[in-house]
């Protein structure tokens, strides 16, 4: 099953022609419409006319999350605001969010790309799709929502949280496809067991999961417990949101929508391309975005490009499932968390030392985070009431900053390891 067969199964030579056309016109547009790119190109002594082949892409400058922050909020937009019909934002370090925009055409493109991924995962217009991502500034829920509507499926915008209610909806509305993070799918399975609802009471057939890394072992567990076919999909708001790539039913890598995204895999150290098939940092150039074009965005996600054709017939190259990050970003309950965000909060609270440790465990399906903080001289450990107040304050501030709840434990000064100068800030006990 394909959504746009002519695009998804395009002959490679034809695809490369299309990519070059789109790359050149995008470069011409960003060079004239976005001062940030013009300055960067000029500084490197390069103009759009120097790009005559796809391999010339390597001569262009990278764009990083820091560039997005520096141009907050609208500095990288290539169209006037009156042409922007949607704004999304993504979390970043130390509270600085980055903003992306969409024109009407961008929304249509986005819907189509997600429709491809849903179709590849088995969803058709006959399906009832429950979206259990949080609706809001994040792109996940809206992207999948539009894609499912585009196909003609019945969409339930359940949003995230309240697992028992989600299960009730699933049962009563006869949901056939669940869209969520993979860990939430396990949470659903566990809650069903707790409240005594058997899988046979549901109509679920497919699960489309993304927004956090997961393993094949986890897939097997989800599939076994929910009786579904689970596929992985990938995207990030900086280039569009979900819709960059997704697994087909073969489930051997995620097909990249290469007619809309040019991908490179580089060594994050020396910034050169890695040999084919080796793992490195994924770099994406968006070829068709109108409001928010993106040239060589360093995703910080680690993956590799897989060789050879896929039996499903799609010609879009496949990337392996994302195996990690090049920076210290953590994905906890599907939310991006940087240790520096936690550090930032602790610095602002009097009576704590800037020594802390983040411990992440997975209890059942859900992530649990404990932040261990060294208390300063001013807090004596016999002052229980003050301790409790401080823990409360830290917990509230962290929840506010991170958007997820965490446990906080105060520990005595100098009890957290700081050997070899650099403390191990993160202990991730989760087994993917």
């Amino acid at each position: 099953m394909y959504w746009e067969r002519d695009k998804e199964c395009m002959d490679r030579e034809e695809l490369e022609q299309l990519q070059l056309e789109r790359l050149q016109s995008t470069l011409n547009r960003v060079y004239s419409h976005v001062p940030f790119y013009r300055k960067k190109f000029d500084a490197m002594g390069i103009t759009p006319e120097d790009v005559g082949s796809l391999s010339d892409l390597a001569r262009l400058p990278f764009t990083t999350k820091a560039d997005l922050r520096d141009n907050y909020p609208y500095g990288l937009f290539a169209v006037p605001m009156r042409e922007v019909v949607r704004i999304h934002a993504s979390s970043g370090t130390t509270g600085a969010v980055t903003v992306v925009g969409y024109t009407r055409n961008d929304i249509r493109t986005w819907s189509n790309l997600v429709a491809r991924i849903l179709t590849a995962g088995g969803v058709t217009k006959e399906d009832v799709v429950q979206i259990a991502f949080g609706y809001g500034l994040f792109t996940g829920a809206f992207g999948l929502h539009y894609g499912a509507e585009r196909i003609g499926a019945s969409v339930i915008p359940a949003s995230s949280g309240n697992t028992e209610r989600q299960i009730q909806i699933m049962k009563d509305f006869k949901t056939t496809a669940l869209v969520s993070t993979p860990s939430y799918a396990l949470q659903v399975a566990e809650t069903m067991q707790e409240i005594g609802i058997p899988v046979s009471a549901l109509s679920l057939r497919y699960g489309l999961f993304g927004a956090e890394p997961w393993s094949d072992a986890m897939r097997q567990e989800i599939e076994g417990r929910l009786g579904i076919v689970a596929t992985d999909n990938y995207g990030l708001s900086e280039v569009i949101g979900p819709g960059v790539s997704g697994e087909c039913r073969e489930r051997r890598g995620l097909h990249i929508n290469e007619d809309h995204f040019l991908v490179e895999v580089i060594d994050p150290g020396n910034l050169h391309p890695v040999p084919p098939g080796e793992t490195g940092e994924l770099v994406i150039t968006a070829l068709t975005k109108e409001a928010f074009p993106m040239i060589r965005y360093r995703t910080r996600d680690l993956t590799c490009l897989m060789p050879g054709p896929c039996p499903c017939g799609r010609t879009g190259r496949r990337m392996s499932r994302v195996t990690g990050r090049t920076d210290d970003m953590l994905i906890i309950k599907g939310v991006n968390v940087f240790p520096s965000q936690i550090e930032h909060v602790l610095f602002e609270i009097e009576g704590t030392e800037p020594h802390y440790q983040i411990v992440i465990d997975r209890k059942g399906a859900m992530d649990e985070v404990t932040v261990r903080v060294e208390a300063g001289e001013s807090i004596f450990f016999d002052q229980m009431r003050r301790q409790r107040e401080m823990v409360d304050t830290i917990r509230k501030r962290l929840a506010h900053e991170l958007g997820i709840s965490v446990d906080v434990k105060l520990v005595e000064k100098k009890t957290l390891g700081r050997s070899e100068g650099k403390a191990k800030r993160v202990i991730d006990n989760r087994k993917l």
């Binding site: 034809e14 022609q17 299309l18 070059l20 056309e21 789109r22 050149q24 016109s25 011409n28 547009r29 004239s32 759009p48 006319e49 790009v51 005559g52 169209v79 009156r82 042409e83 024109t103 009407r104 055409n105 249509r108 068709t288 109108e290």
Partner: protein, 245 residues
């Protein structure tokens, strides 16, 4: 059918086209829109061999035609309906049409010319009615039909049309464009260069926007029609005025 990569060309020291990359698939109607002086005509003249390509490649099917003279390119099946019709005014309609059959005679397919003539008369009954009239006495719309008929006599697989709507009344433009659609239905591939972007995008599958010799946008006709920059610059919609209404 036609694949152009990094094409550069111009006149004398003036470089008009800057790294133009585009393609046309068999059976498509593709339009190039752009303002006066953007390089649209230069592009068609370069593909037709009337001016040489300075660099880049032009593949017709799999054959590089960037260095071929115009008549060879016509022989291969790629014909131009030039801007301003370029008819032979003192000759009759029929004589003008038959001039277009020259490649067929050269290929010793002269016996097919009668059938071809019938076919273009079928497409343009008006030309049959006026076959003995001098081309210079035709109306603008009829002259455009004659220019298209002449190009069709070479049995092109790709027809390139340069501003076919120029100087014509809206009703006549509609006629001409319905003929373009019909040509495609009969198996031809069409590259249409137009200032009348709205009409062109109305019948095209895809389009490219040319600005000062560079392609700044490409996409399906639907995408381009709903792109606000295209609307403002080429479709004559004053969005500011609409906003205040």
């Amino acid at each position: 059918m036609l694949r152009i990569r990094n094409l550069e060309s111009g006149y004398g020291r003036l470089k008009v086209l800057k790294k133009v990359t585009m393609h046309i698939g068999a059976g498509e109607i593709v339009t190039i829109i752009g303002a006066n002086g953007a390089g649209k005509t230069t592009l068609l003249r370069t593909v037709s061999g009337l001016i040489p390509a300075r660099s880049g490649e032009i593949l017709f099917d799999t054959k590089e035609i960037g260095t071929l003279p115009p008549e060879k390119i016509v022989f291969l099946g790629c014909s131009l309906v030039p801007e301003g019709r370029q008819l032979f005014a003192p000759m009759t309609v029929k004589e003008n049409i038959l001039l277009g059959a020259y490649p067929q005679y050269r290929k010793r397919h002269g016996d097919q010319v009668r059938d071809d003539l019938e076919r273009v008369y079928g497409l343009f009954p008006r030309l049959r009615e006026r076959e003995r009239q001098l081309a210079g006495t035709l109306s603008g719309g009829e002259q455009q039909m004659l220019a298209i008929a002449r190009a069709l006599m070479a049995r092109p697989r790709l027809i390139m049309m340069d501003e076919p709507s120029m100087g014509l009344a809206p009703l006549v433009i509609k006629d001409i464009f319905s003929i373009v659609t019909r040509l495609r239905e009969e198996g031809s591939t069409v590259l249409l260069v137009e200032q009348n972007a709205k009409a062109a995008l109305g019948i095209a599958d895809r389009g490219y926007v040319l600005e000062t010799g560079r392609i700044i946008m490409q996409g399906t006709a639907e995408d381009l029609l709903s792109n606000r920059e295209v609307q403002r610059a080429y479709l004559g919609r004053d969005l500011d005025a609409e906003g205040t209404m």
